[in-house]
Amino acid sequence: MKEMETRLAKLAKGGDRRAFAELVELYKDKIYHLAYRMLHNAQEAEDVVQETFLKLYANLHRFDESQKFSTWIYRIGTNLCIDRLRKRKANYSLDADVSEGDGNDWHTMLASDGRTPEEELLLSETQRLIRRAIDALPEKYRSAVILRYLHDLSLQEIGEILDMPVTTVKTRVHRGREYLRRRLEKESLL
């Protein structure tokens, strides 16, 4: 798998558009999944996927074959999501909880507007509660937890994606997990 991506990236670097299209096919769902879970907004998730590949394309000449392709693309995607979360924060200071105890802020309410992927319409009640718990995770834990649990990545790899020491990733995953545990326990899901 890894070799194939590297080969495709090499071909794409040489100007092969079909190779690039194959990379898009291989990774668009992964990046979409990441962006949708991070941002909880279908339109924004699509935009992030598109921007990720545009950025990747523009930087293909810098692709280093010794580097893992998936790390590279996840880093671009994650950074775009984090940028968007920060912009949201800057645009509206809506971080205050709408109603106490619920942990819902305006982001969650805004985000749940608009189009929804098909898979989301079929969520069970439990899954809805988990989704809200993810949305409520503080931003710095959110990326680490999503990469760890929804993308099954190792702490080492998450460290490379987020460009931080593994010890920091570890702390974030641990705290994020404790946060979720408390929240889901409160929902009587555990």
């Binding site: 979409y32 949708y36 997990r177 899901l189």
Partner: protein
Amino acid sequence: MNCKEAIPLMHDYLDGELKAAQMALLKEHLLACLACRKHFQQLERAGALLGAMPRVAAPDSLTDRIMQSLPAPPKRSAWKTWIRRHPAATAAAVFMAVMLSSFATMWSSDNELTVKGSDLDQVVIRGNTVYVPPGSTVKGNLIVENGKIQVDGNIEGNLVVIDGSYVLASTAKISGQVTKINQAFEWLWYKMNDFWSRLSR
């Protein structure tokens, strides 16, 4: 091991980072401590619930949209490739182009009446007509461009008329040849002959 020590080990275990020796210690503690066992099960279950979230897939049309939004590849145009393959032909073509364009500018700039000769004192010019009056004698060649010439007198040499016309009176005497050049090609030919003859001189 106390509970405070056990909790980070639980997380390490869940991240696949716990070494065998510590695992044994953790296991021992969990068997003994109900609260920690519960804590561990909750962490594990929270992770499992998270991992079981359905994967959302991007719309099918997204690949096409992405591919269409990519900037156009820096494509080499056909003639550039041709140039790369045929350097000698390219050099020849460039040379021809420069030659032709210089001729073309020479040709198009010659819209005015030009009279060339070694003995122009004998010539009268009115408007765009050149007269060689009766009784006068032009010694040497006479070249008229973009104009008319009327010869009533004598020319002791050749007469060349380029893009113009000539009238020879019955009194006219021309010792050399009369040449009329009208078309650009002939003109070009003439110029080139002139050029080469001048070079060879």
